[in-house]
Amino acid sequence: MAIILTEAEAKALLTKVLSYSKADECEVNLLGEERGNLRYARNEVSTSGSLINKNLAVQSAFGKRVGTATIDEFDDASLEKVVRRSEELAKLAPENPEYVGILGPQQYVKSSGFFDSTAKITPDTRATAVDKSLQLSREKNLTAAGFLQDNYGYTAMMNSKGLFAYYPSTSVNFSLTVRTPDGKGSGYVARGYSDFTKLDTAAATRIAIQKAQGSAEARAIEPGKYTVILEPTAAVVLLENIYFNMDARSADEGRSYFSKSGGKSRIGDKIVDERITIYSDPTNAELPASPWSGDGRPQEKMMWIEKGVVKNLSYERFWAQKQGKKAIPFPNNMIMMGGNSSLEDMIKSTQRGILVTKLWYIREVDPQTILLTGLTRDGTFYIENGKIKHPIKNFRFNESPIIMLNNLESLGKPERVVSTETDRNYLVPPMKIREFTFTSLSDAV
């Protein structure tokens, strides 16, 4: 059987699996994917790999006893065996008081995240794309280390109450670090797309080259509070720490930033500047995402922070039922709305500030304030009187993205970026922030 099944093939297979079920409730998740990658360093290929993966997971429930079994062989005997095994495991399992049963049929919005161009990538396509990048760095006598990774596949699910969902998708991520031979300059670029035809490795490489050359001979300036302009690649790794904390249960239990004294959450509170609006939307053409969550709940366009006010937090189904709230799933994408400033406008309007192109090694220091620490990396520049004056040495920062979004000066146009911490893709605008806290200098390049 093929690794990637069509919707009709997936439906037929799942229907067959469910026909073997004798449990009170049965739910089946199915996936197939092919991944390929090419990695290079010191201007030559270092490793490469490919992986094929297919998996079927059956969850059976008797009352509140739940068992899950998985298999990657899809012949009739194997399918029946995996259903029986999940039923045996369910009968042996302790009752799960938080099991709320499976969902009935759902309506999903349409989202197009599958592109043939990406599905058809071969080792040779990868080598050609990387060669374009390597030629440029070799020509300039710079040292390149990069990674190209692509994936195509599908997920599907069906359950004994009639729910069926299917979503095919593709993705390609390209990242590159270019360094000067003396190790004094370093530049970075990352690109993420669903459609491989949008990836121009040569154009991306020129950006990394420009940053590598421009960041050499950096000067040290004193740490302290500065106005910063964060390129989207830098901003995203701070923002996603807000996103990951937007869980209702931990807020209600008093153990997150979104908790308030007296056992309440911050839903309805204005927490950041009124120009900040963050939402999710699986149908966004720039950032398509699956229109359903792993447990079959529909993903709809959802406001999380609107004009600075917390509108929603995500709920596990058990917690939503207990609290009498709508069970909004954790989103499959996140989009931050922007403003009208261009990066150039932001620099021009800055009397004294710092352009940050990338941040690195982000860790939470205090969950109650989402205080984060990390460092600037691969191109940090001093701005004076509306112009980039010179590259500066890297800083360590200690700052909360909540405080940062309260100190907002201006926003630019959102673009698709890849988080260097999690590899997830987001839409994020560049942003200008006042009083961003740098706490020490680093000699790292």
Partner: protein
């Protein structure tokens, strides 16, 4: 909460004890892979036929949240063809045809990408060891312990925490068994059985009126051991401001202490930022060693192979060649050791058939060596790999991974109490917390679990909002004393991350309690 690992299938607890493939079949499949690769033009090939068994038991307060048993089995083939590395893998197969096709695919990848090579891979020679085997010393096999006994233990741990002041508690047992068969065209057939365990918990205390919260995580270490790590005897415990553990871990006792300490943390004094002398417990220091010495002395980072993600290193060749680069003070001696019993890195052979060993990294404060594998050691002018090549699955390609890197105990007799008595203004830090370091391993910041103020040689109560920020060379040069071997203990991690696609590695770091003078301490408290 851990998810089912990619490419693994769930099994029953009983199936974790079933024997894997017979060794004669593994040898036959290995020969098929090696012959198929060389027939297609590979000049070198190795194959790993590996079975990874995991059990996770997860609880929360009075509930068992999940019990996950997984098995992942497959074959990974690595080759050199046209002077270029190639790799391919296939899961859940015992078919000779599948294995041969996987080997051929690895050769095809190597050939397709060889046009992007400047010069061929240079592999250090390695003698074959024939048919050999190695296994972790196991006194009490984790998978032989009934699941009920494990959930009973965790629910008792949670009960102890809740009745001593916790508002929430999550506790977990992770148990791992890697059954790895390696063969190469050098003539080695190596069968290894590796066990690891990590019991841990997080206790949370909430002050509803103020909205403040505090957590305290377990002081256990992940170990290259089996269920016997959960048996303790008095010699495994070090008493003091809180009990710390060595070869055996008393989870119930630690959870009781943790709940009380989490409540105390809510009322602890917020630290005054500035210069402090630090006394660091091994349960904390392991992470500082990991980040500032372990990663900085990985040769692939020094050479630039990890420049695009993990980064490079400040510990460059010129510093090593000078033979006088002061990485730390004279008290500072670091060694790498893949043979330390009970450590996470302890194996007989690495994942490219090199016998493991012990070697010096920093001697009397001077950088003397790196961690390197077969395709790198020639750059150190050496002909033999140091044996620290590892892949986290049959489906991933092996590369240089961190060996156990440990701080040698001090040579003079010195206890923790004697060390503290000498400190006028200091902070005693126990357990690991938030951590971050730059991509060349200069500038770092670390938190912890427990912070005790030391005033004129005495413990003077608990502090909070503490993080220290320093520079690797400055920090290790501020090390003035290390307690003796009686205090030597290991910490470690299951989740040392590196590579693209990212892989994990399990590694331990031993040390005795150590003193660092005049370190910059920040106050991390913020008002929003």
């Amino acid at each position: 909460m851990p998810k089912i690992p990619a490419l693994a299938r769930t099994v029953t607890a009983e199936e974790l004890l079933e024997p894997g493939l017979d060794i004669a079949i593994k040898k036959r499949l290995a020969d098929v892979a090696l012959n198929a690769a060389t027939a297609k033009g590979a000049t070198y090939a190795d194959v790993r036929i590996a079975r990874y068994l995991n059990q996770y038991v997860m609880t929360r307060e009075d509930k068992v949240q999940n019990i996950i048993n997984t098995e992942s089995f497959g074959v990974g083939v690595r080759v050199i063809a046209n002077g270029c590395w190639g790799f391919a893998a296939m899961g859940e197969t015992q078919s000779e045809d599948d294995v041969a096709r996987t080997a051929e695919k690895a050769v095809a990848f190597a050939k397709a990408h060889s046009r992007l090579m400047k010069k061929p891979v240079q592999l250090a020679p390695q003698k074959g060891f024939g048919e050999v085997s190695w296994k972790t010393k196991v006194e009490k096999h984790s998978f032989e312990i009934p699941v009920k006994e494990k959930t009973d233990l965790l629910l008792a741990v949670n009960g102890a925490a809740m009745s001593n002041g916790a508002d929430f508690v999550n506790s977990t047992l992770f148990m791992i068994n890697e059954q790895k068969y390696f063969a190469s065209t050098d003539g080695s057939y190596i069968d290894q059985d590796v066990h690891r365990i990590w019991p841990n918990f997080t206790v949370t205390a909430v002050d509803k009126s103020s909205g403040l919260m505090a957590t305290r995580e377990s002081l256990s270490a992940p170990m290259g051991r089996s269920y016997d790590y959960l048996q303790t005897n008095p010699t495994d415990k070090l008493t003091g401001v809180t009990t710390r553990y060595n070869q055996g871990y008393d989870m119930l006792e630690d959870a009781t202490a943790a709940a009380k300490q989490a409540r105390l943390k809510l009322k602890a004094k917020s630290v005054e930022p500035g210069k402090w002398d630090l006394i660091l417990d091994p349960s904390h220091t392991y992470l500082t060693i990991h980040e500032s010495v372990g990663h900085a002395t990985e040769l692939d980072r020094v050479l630039g192979y990890e420049a695009n993600l993990a980064g490079t290193s400040f510990a460059t060749f010129d510093k090593w060649k000078s033979k006088n680069f002061n990485y730390g003070s004279k008290e500072v001696n670091f060694f790498a050791d893949k043979t330390q019993p009970g450590s996470l890195g302890d194996v007989g052979w690495d994942d490219e058939g090199v016998k493991t060993k012990k070697w010096d990294i920093i001697k009397d404060g001077i950088l003397v060596n790196y961690q390197a594998i077969r395709d790198q050691v020639h750059m150190l002018g050496e002909t033999e790999s140091q044996g620290c090549c590892y892949a986290d699955s049959w489906s991933t390609v092996q590369f240089q991974r961190m060996a156990n890197i440990s701080l040698a105990p001090g040579k003079e007799r010195l206890t923790v109490d004697e060390m503290i008595k000498d400190v006028k203004k200091g902070i005693y830090i126990i357990g690991d917390g938030s951590y971050s370091i730059d991509q060349q391993r200069y500038n770092f910041q670390f938190g912890g679990q427990l912070f005790y103020e030391i005033k004129d040689g005495q413990i003077a109560g608990m502090l909070r909002d503490v993080a220290y920020q320093s520079n690797t060379q400055e920090f290790w040069n501020s090390c003035v004393k290390v307690c003796d071997e009686r205090d030597y203990r290991m910490g470690g991690t299951f989740f040392d991350g590196k590579g693209q696609p990212a892989q994990i590695n399990s590694v331990s770091h031993g040390s005795s309690t150590a003193r660092f003078n005049g370190v910059n301490v920040l106050n991390t408290g913020r008002k929003i």
